[in-house]
């Protein structure tokens, strides 16, 4: 077995240059919790691995424009330990907390979760519901992309060769906003989502929903951002009728597979059940945040 070239540059420009010059298959290494398993199982044989954890600007969670900039190599545990991030975006943290064990969360990153492009990635639906933007750097410079535009199918992303995620931006939240994520798994821990639902909504001072984003995971080849769900909530007081309509729209949007984790029919049914629970949780949080 041939050896793999390993580089750990200390600047972003250097990392981009190395990746752009790669001739064979290459991978950026952040937490490695998917990459190393894929190499171990011979699913992936890269010629080049670029460890991006020595690049200072990729390592921090920073306030920006009333929101947060989260570097691509920030681990799940670092996010869970950030009190201000947890207070502002509890739904994103709901998703991050569900990624693997404490050991895995000590290494795993949202950028890796997104780029691994599993339809069941737990941090992705809450990022999509949050309206998070990914900043991508590559040989042609820097661009911003909504998170939902990055996965294009199982294991496939819209990143061009040589491009990597630099960071995520979570925007400033209006008052009375709340987000939540729940997934269904047969076990409570160490499992992969059969269905995941994330909802982010904002209420006005009268309790009427002014904006909403609803994202579904594990029920299609990629995460789904469902406008029909959002439209069912916007303009309502998020009462039972509105939630039922939203849940029906979520079930209608599902295009799930049948597999050992759940049949197509089961996943569709569970999507509407979870959508109702998540809406209640997001609503509670919106009512209890300033």
């Amino acid at each position: 077995m041939s050896d793999v070239r390993f580089e750990a540059p200390s600047s972003l420009s250097e990392a981009v240059k190395i990746l752009a010059g790669a001739k064979g298959p290459s991978r950026a290494l952040a937490g490695g919790t998917d990459l190393i398993v894929q190499m171990e199982n011979d699913l992936l044989e890269p010629d080049l691995i670029v460890d991006i954890k020595k690049i200072p600007e990729l390592r921090a969670i920073k306030p920006e424009g009333g929101g947060f900039r989260i570097g691509a190599t920030v681990t799940s545990m670092e996010m869970i330990e950030d009190a201000s991030l947890c207070a502002k975006w509890p739904g994103v943290i709901d998703g991050v907390k569900l990624i693997g064990s404490i050991q895995v969360k000590g290494r795993a990153t949202m950028a890796g979760n997104l780029c691994n492009a599993s339809p069941g990635a737990d941090s992705v639906p809450p990022l999509v519901a949050a309206g998070a933007l990914a900043r991508i750097v590559g040989p042609n410079g820097t661009r911003e992309s909504p998170v939902e535009k990055i996965p294009v199918g199982p294991g496939k992303t819209s990143l061009a060769p040589g491009e990597i995620i630099e960071s995520f931006f979570l925007p400033e939240r209006p008052r009375n906003s709340g987000d939540a994520y729940l997934r269904f798994t047969p076990r409570t821990e160490m499992d992969i989502a059969v269905v995941g639902v994330a909802i982010n909504l904002t209420l006005d001072s009268a309790g009427v929903c002014t904006q909403a984003r609803v994202a579904l995971g594990a029920v299609a080849p990629t995460v789904l951002l469902v406008d029909e769900c959002a439209n069912a909530l916007i303009g309502t007081r998020v009462d039972e009728a509105a939630i039922d309509k939203m849940a029906a729209a979520a079930a209608a949007a599902c295009k799930p597979i049948d597999d050992k984790r759940g049949t197509r029919e089961f996943r569709i049914k569970i999507t509407s059940v979870l959508a109702k629970r998540v809406a209640q949780k997001a609503l509670e949080r919106a009512r209890h945040t300033a």
């Binding site: 077995m1 750990a8 954890k53 404490i102």
Partner: protein
Amino acid sequence: MSKKHHITTIVNGDEYEALCETRHTLLDVLRDELRLTGTKEGCATGDCGACSVMMDGRLVCSCLVLAVEADGKSIDTIEGMASGNELHPLQTKFLELNGLQCGICTPGFLIAARALLERNPDPTESEARYWLAGNLCRCTGYDKIIRAVLSAAAEMRGA
């Protein structure tokens, strides 16, 4: 072409040097190069926690860390848990309360449990079970493990 990386790592307070290839994991180097075989390989995919170590104070699976990433880092393994002949209270309680059967999962459980107690000296049973969800015991001796952890926690608090 087989280029080896020269890494320098602090393991249990002592500096070690090793040569490794890119695809070697920290677990490979701990066991095969440094002969620190207390850290076990269970699944090699990060699911079982048998290879748990601390890296710069963070609980990780050493099978999911490339050895070359450990260059310049500080690693704590099971071999550093006792002070000389004096066992850590967790080790004592695992022995007293039969928190092990075949023993393969034990080093990982001890390292993970110590990380829990450093963070939360008084965990509830539920908190301990969730924290240790990434450590599997195929003999399924979980109850005794949890009892040992909670009992060690009480002793360490002086309760």
